[in-house]
C-alpha cells in the first residue's frame, strides 16, 4: 500500500503536482496497479538473469567526436527557450 505521505514524497521526488481530486484518484489507482503487478511474485525467477537488452550480440557503439550538426540548428534550439535574454537561457536562481 502506498500511503498518503508516500504520495506527497513521490510528488517531490518526481517534481510534479497533482490537484486534491487527482491525488485521491491517484492513491486508489496506484494501489490497484501495484496489487495487479504484485502477481509477478508468482513467477519462478530463481536462476533467471535480468534482461537488460532486447537483442543478442549488441555491443556499445560510439562515433567519432565530430561536429555533425546541421547549420542553423543552434538558432532553432535557442528559439525554443521558454525564457531568454539574448541567447542566454534564463532560469530561476539554482542556489
Amino acid at each position: 500500500m502506498i500511503s498518503k505521505d508516500d504520495i506527497e514524497h513521490l510528488k517531490d521526488l518526481a517534481r510534479t503536482e497533482f490537484g486534491e481530486h487527482e491525488t485521491r484518484v491517484l492513491a486508489k489507482d496506484l494501489n490497484s496497479i501495484l496489487e495487479y503487478v504484485a502477481t509477478l511474485q508468482q513467477a519462478d525467477v530463481s536462476n533467471v538473469p535480468e534482461m537488460t537488452y532486447a537483442l543478442k550480440d549488441v555491443k556499445n557503439i560510439t562515433r567519432p567526436d565530430e561536429d555533425i550538426c546541421e547549420e542553423g540548428i543552434s538558432k532553432s534550439i535557442t528559439d525554443a527557450f521558454p525564457q531568454k535574454e539574448r541567447d542566454y537561457l534564463k532560469v530561476k536562481a539554482v542556489l
Binding site: T39, L40, E50, M51, L55
Partner: protein, 472 residues
C-alpha cells in the same frame, strides 16, 4: 488508392502528385472536425513538395516507389520546423529543430507529409482519449475509440485521409489501433528502424512503424525506413535483412493457447479460428504454449513506468516547452510539469519513481526484468529453428473498440487492451496486425485484427502470411 496503385498511375501520368495530395488534404479538412485525426495539416508545404515531384516527373525522371505518397505522421515524430507536441500541453508550441531518422529517409524517398496526427499524450494510452487536444474518433462509429496510442494515424489511413502513416509502438500502439480501425499495422523488430527523433516513452520497447492500407504497402514503407542510423545506436545495419533475402518459406504457423483464454471476445475468437481453418490449406497449424504470457502485462507496467519516469524528466519547462512561473526553481519544475503534463503521464511518472526508489528496486524492477527474460525465452523456444514454428498467429486485441469514456476512469481496464500485443515488445520481435472480417455491434460493422509474430528480423515472413490472409 494504395501506394502501388498510385505509383503506377503516377508513372503512367494518369494522376499527378498535386492531384493526389489535394484530394487527401480536402478529405482531411472536411472530415477532421468530426474525427480529430490530425492536430495540424501542413497544406502549403505538402502542395509545394507535390509540385516539386510533378516537376521532376515532367523533366523525365523515373519516379521512385514513394514519390508523391501523402503520409500522416504521428505527433511524437520530429519534422524539422514543425511543431511536435506529442499531444501534450507542455509541448504545445515546441518546434522540432531536426528531422527524425525516419523522416529523413521518407523525404529522400520523395514522400509528402500531410500533417501531424493525434495520439495519447506521449504515447501513453490505448484509446487516443488521453490527448490534450481532445479524443480521436473511430471512423466506423464516431461514439467509439479508434484505439491508441497511434489513433490519429490509424484513422487517417482507415478513413482515407492519408495514403499511409507512421506511428510508434511500445506495447501495441500501432497494432491495436490498426485492428480497431481496419488498417494494416507493423511493429518492426526492436532495432530495425531508427528511433532518432522519436519523442521517447520507454526506450527499451519503442519502435516506429507503418500503418497502411495493405500488407504490400506496409512492406514498401518498412523497406524504406529500416536500417542503421548513427543517431540511434540500437539501430542495426540493413545487412541483417539482406542476409535473409531468401528465407525459408513459412511452413508452420503456431497458435498459442494462452491467446484464446478468458477475456477474449467470443466473436473475435470465432473470426480468428476461421482464419486458422482457412490457412490450414496453405500451412501446417500447430498449437503451442507461451506459458509466461500471463506475466507480460504486470511486467510491462513495471518496466514502462520506470523508463517513463526517467525519459519524462527532460520535460521540466527549462530548455523548451511551457514554463509555469514560481518563486524558486523547484516550484518551477513542479508547476510546469503539474500544469503541462496530463494525468495518465503523471501517474506513470509517479509509479516509475516508486518502483525505482530505494528499497523497492529488487521487488519490482529487477523482478520484472527477470520475468521479461522468461517471456523472451518463451518465444525463443516457440521459434526454435529445428522443432519450432515459423510464425505465431493470434488476435491483436481481446475486445472490439469500446465507447469513448467507457474505460477512461479505470486505468487497469484500459491496460488490458494490450494484453496480446505487449509480449512482442518485451521480446523485441516484429509483429503485424492484418484486418480480417467484421463483427456487428451497436449497428456497426467493426473490423477485426489478426496478429502475426515472427522471430527477430523475420519481417518478410509476416508479410508473406499477411498477404495470404488478405486474399482468404
Amino acid at each position: 488508392m494504395t501506394i502501388v496503385e498510385f505509383h503506377n498511375a503516377l508513372k503512367n501520368k494518369t494522376i499527378s502528385a498535386r492531384a493526389a495530395t489535394s484530394l487527401y488534404l480536402d478529405a482531411a479538412k472536411k472530415e477532421n472536425k468530426k474525427l480529430n485525426a490530425y492536430l495540424e495539416l501542413f497544406e502549403e508545404d505538402a502542395m509545394g513538395r507535390a509540385k516539386e515531384i510533378d516537376n521532376r516527373i515532367a523533366s523525365g525522371e523515373e519516379p521512385g516507389i514513394l514519390w508523391g505518397v501523402p503520409f500522416a505522421i504521428k505527433d511524437n515524430i520530429l519534422i524539422s520546423g514543425k511543431i511536435a507536441s506529442a499531444a501534450s500541453r507542455i509541448l504545445k508550441n515546441y518546434v522540432a529543430s531536426y528531422d527524425a531518422g525516419v523522416i529523413k529517409k521518407l523525404k529522400a524517398a520523395g514522400a509528402i507529409f500531410l500533417g501531424r496526427t493525434n495520439m495519447d499524450e506521449f504515447a501513453m494510452g490505448s484509446s487516443t482519449e488521453n490527448s490534450a487536444y481532445g479524443p480521436t474518433r473511430n471512423p466506423h462509429n464516431n461514439e467509439y475509440v479508434p484505439g491508441g496510442s497511434s489513433g490519429g494515424s490509424a484513422v487517417a489511413v482507415a478513413a482515407n485521409l492519408a495514403m499511409a502513416a507512421l506511428g510508434s509502438d511500445t506495447g501495441g500502439s500501432i497494432r491495436q489501433p490498426a485492428a480497431f480501425c481496419g488498417a494494416v499495422g507493423l511493429k518492426p523488430t526492436y532495432g530495425a528502424v531508427s528511433r532518432s527523433g522519436l519523442i521517447a516513452m520507454a526506450s527499451s520497447l519503442d519502435q516506429i512503424g507503418p500503418l497502411a492500407q495493405s500488407v504490400e504497402d506496409a512492406e514498401i514503407i518498412f523497406n524504406i525506413i529500416k536500417g542503421n542510423d548513427q543517431l540511434d545506436s540500437t539501430s542495426v545495419d540493413s545487412d541483417i535483412f539482406s542476409l535473409k533475402t531468401a528465407p525459408q518459406p513459412v511452413r508452420v504457423i503456431g497458435v498459442p493457447k494462452e491467446y484464446f483464454s478468458e477475456g477474449l471476445d467470443s466473436r473475435i475468437n470465432n473470426t480468428i479460428k476461421s482464419v486458422i481453418k482457412k490457412l490450414e490449406k496453405h500451412y501446417t497449424i500447430r498449437e503451442i504454449s507461451l506459458p509466461n504470457t500471463k506475466h507480460a502485462l504486470p511486467c510491462y507496467y513495471i518496466i514502462v513506468p520506470a523508463e517513463v519516469s526517467s525519459n519524462m524528466a527532460r520535460f521540466d519547462g527549462i530548455r523548451y516547452g511551457e514554463r509555469a512561473d514560481a518563486d524558486n526553481i523547484f516550484d518551477v519544475y513542479k508547476r510546469s510539469r503539474g500544469e503541462g503534463i496530463g494525468l495518465e503521464v503523471r501517474r506513470r511518472i509517479l509509479l516509475g519513481t516508486y518502483v525505482l526508489s530505494h528499497g523497492y528496486y529488487d521487488a519490482y524492477y529487477a523482478r520484472a526484468q527477470k520475468v521479461r527474460h522468461l517471456i523472451k525465452e518463451d518465444f525463443k523456444k516457440a521459434f526454435d529453428p529445428k522443432t519450432g514454428v515459423d510464425v505465431i498467429l493470434g488476435p491483436t486485441s481481446p475486445t472490439l473498440p469500446f465507447k469513448i469514456g467507457e474505460k477512461s476512469e479505470d486505468p487497469l481496464a484500459m491496460y488490458l487492451s494490450d494484453i496480446y500485443t505487449i509480449p512482442v515488445n518485451l521480446a523485441g520481435i516484429p509483429a503485424l496486425s492484418v484486418p480480417y472480417g467484421t463483427v456487428l455491434e451497436d449497428g456497426t460493422n467493426f473490423p477485426i485484427g489478426v496478429q502475426l509474430m515472427a522471430p527477430h528480423f523475420e519481417e518478410k515472413q509476416l508479410f508473406d502470411v499477411g498477404k495470404q490472409i488478405e486474399v482468404l
